[in-house]
Amino acid sequence: MTAVSGPITRRRLRSSGSIAVTRVLGALGKYASLIAFSLVLLLPIVVIVFASLKTAREYATTSPLAPPQNWFNFANFGTAWVGGGMLRGFANTALILSVSLVITILLGTMTAYALHRFNFRFKNVVFALFLIATLVPSVTTQVATYQIVNGLGLVDTYPGAILLFSGTDIVSVFIFIQFMQSIPKSLDEAAMLDGASRWGVYWRIILPLLQPAIATVIIIKGIAIYNEFYIPLLYLPSAEHNVISTALFKFIGPFSASQQIIAAGVIIVIIPTLVIFLALQRFIYNGITRGATK
């Protein structure tokens, strides 16, 4: 550092003691804000955990902030599981989820393959079509889409919902294209020189190499479908087609007098999300950032 006069030098001339104090205060402030915010975020969840473990009487008489007396009182969970039809909810969700994911991945990778590895006259048009479609707010277009699905006789059927989940997902295509950019085209060409057809290249080379992208899409889209409430509400109204979201939603009427049972239902729905999150954190973070920077 040369002898520069002025504000910078003046700052550097503070005693080492006061610099240390500033550092400590800064660090304290930093951690204090982090802890405060974490508490705010965790409070609603923790309170629900407490409530789910309380008996009806305990719930009515204690403050929401008070922990339950018996941490192993799982009675509410039993009632919620059976009375709320959660088994059927999870089963339906699992079915719709798995089929939708398979279709999404097949269609998405094929589209990405066609868009990235080929050059054809209307390529830019098609690309633009996909790009613009991501802007369309699907929430409100359902007003018209419902008419179409209804016309096809697919309302309140599994295929109807599956079609909607896999046919309108464009972000996955862009994630696949991003990944394909790191698969060298020379691999394709080598294979084709050896006599592989385009389909062969897709099936035997591209698809296996896209596994990380596929994993990412499975996780991100899987979570999205698990949490989806609007589409099942509109297109799977009957009780036998309940998915986990609509099943939990239907808790509100029958169980409104027993809030602790609703709390148990909420916890049951949250647990899979927590497990997946803890196990696959890195994938999830990666997927979110990729999807957003399309």
Binding site: S33, L34, T111, A133, V143, F249, A263, A292
Partner: protein, 324 residues
């Protein structure tokens, strides 16, 4: 042109196929591209997705425009053309216009989200203990099921519930002296917007974190050598680097504040003045059978989103600040 006329071993004659006047050659050029494959191959790969895209996205959007100029109820066989009546009604009838004021609450909430997210992303980008723990806690709410969150906050805001108990514990008086967080029309939107901030800050946070951490370390080191403190680093390195993410989040904020549906629908069903643009749209279409009117609302939302995106692309083009 005349190529080698044959392979000694097989006696194949090439020049017949390569003769410029051959009809077979012209057909081959039309069917097959430069590599010899069928021109239609890429379309085959994309056939199903394209059909779905058009059937489930573009065709409905076209229909939306059409329906919005009619008074269709979704069932009748005939649709009567009524011009711009639906649009006029939406903007002049206070009962409907209210949804725009409601969306303002969420719009403001988006800025609170962004500020919080940026603050914590910046803090956690530099050396902090337990970084992953805090990162996880902040992000986790975003992953939760909307219905679960709605029920959690019903619990949180009910009279005598979590919020009341906490405030009482902090010395703000007993539960009875607190307003009805969801029952009081003056408070309901603030409460909902608060729940929204709780839910979505994590997403903004992760995006900012990704952007900040993608700035190469050497730049930070160079800044350190030049004597920059944290504030300088923030202002001159981080802010330019995250311009793109901020503009992206800005679009999402505008489109998002109009698109709010889940939380208010689950918690109050739109009652008490908490009805949002989309809740009203859905109710008009599926409960009150006014598909024409609802389509008009849907068109408005679409136009707003397209407009904002267009403006953003102009103001912050994709190939902007390059830091490395």
């Amino acid at each position: 042109m005349s190529e080698i006329t044959g392979d000694a071993a097989t006696g194949v004659q090439f020049d017949k196929v390569l003769s410029p006047t051959s009809a077979r050659l012209r057909r081959r050029r039309w069917l097959r591209g430069p590599n010899g494959e069928l021109r239609v191959t890429p379309l085959l790969f994309m056939a199903v997705p394209l059909v779905l895209l058009i059937t489930l996205t573009y065709y409905p959007v076209a229909n939306l425009f059409w329906y919005s100029f009619t008074d269709w109820d979704g069932i009748a066989l005939g649709k009567n053309f009524i011009g711009l009546k639906n649009y006029v009604s939406l903007f002049t009838n206070p009962q409907y216009f209210q949804v725009f004021t409601v969306s303002l609450y969420y719009f403001v909430a988006s800025f609170v989200q962004m500020a919080l997210a940026l603050y914590f992303a910046t803090i956690l980008s530099f050396s902090t203990r337990f970084r992953n723990l805090f990162k996880g806690i902040i992000f986790f709410p975003y992953l939760l099921n909307g219905v679960a969150i709605g029920l959690m906050f019903l619990f949180f805001f009910r009279p005598g519930g979590t919020l009341d108990a906490t405030l009482a514990g902090l010395g703000f008086g007993p539960a009875s002296s607190h307003p009805l967080w969801l029952g009081n029309p003056s408070w309901v939107n603030i409460s909902m917007a608060g729940a929204s901030v709780w839910r979505y800050t994590g997403l903004n946070f992760v995006l900012f974190l990704g952007a900040i951490q993608s700035i190469p370390d050497e730049i930070y080191e160079a800044a350190d050598l030049d004597g920059a403190n944290s504030w300088h680093k923030f202002r001159f390195i981080i802010v330019p680097g995250i311009k793109r993410i901020i503009s992206l989040l800005f679009i999402l904020a505008i489109a998002g504040s109009l698109s709010v549906f889940e939380l208010p629908y689950i918690m109050t069903g739109g009652a008490n003045g908490s009805s949002t643009f989309v809740i009203t749209t859905v109710q008009q279409a599926f409960v009150f059978q006014r598909v024409g009117f609802a389509s008009g609302m849907a068109v408005i939302l679409l136009i707003v989103v397209l407009l904002v995106t267009f403006v953003q692309r102009r103001l912050v083009p994709d190939d902007d600040v390059a830091l490395s």
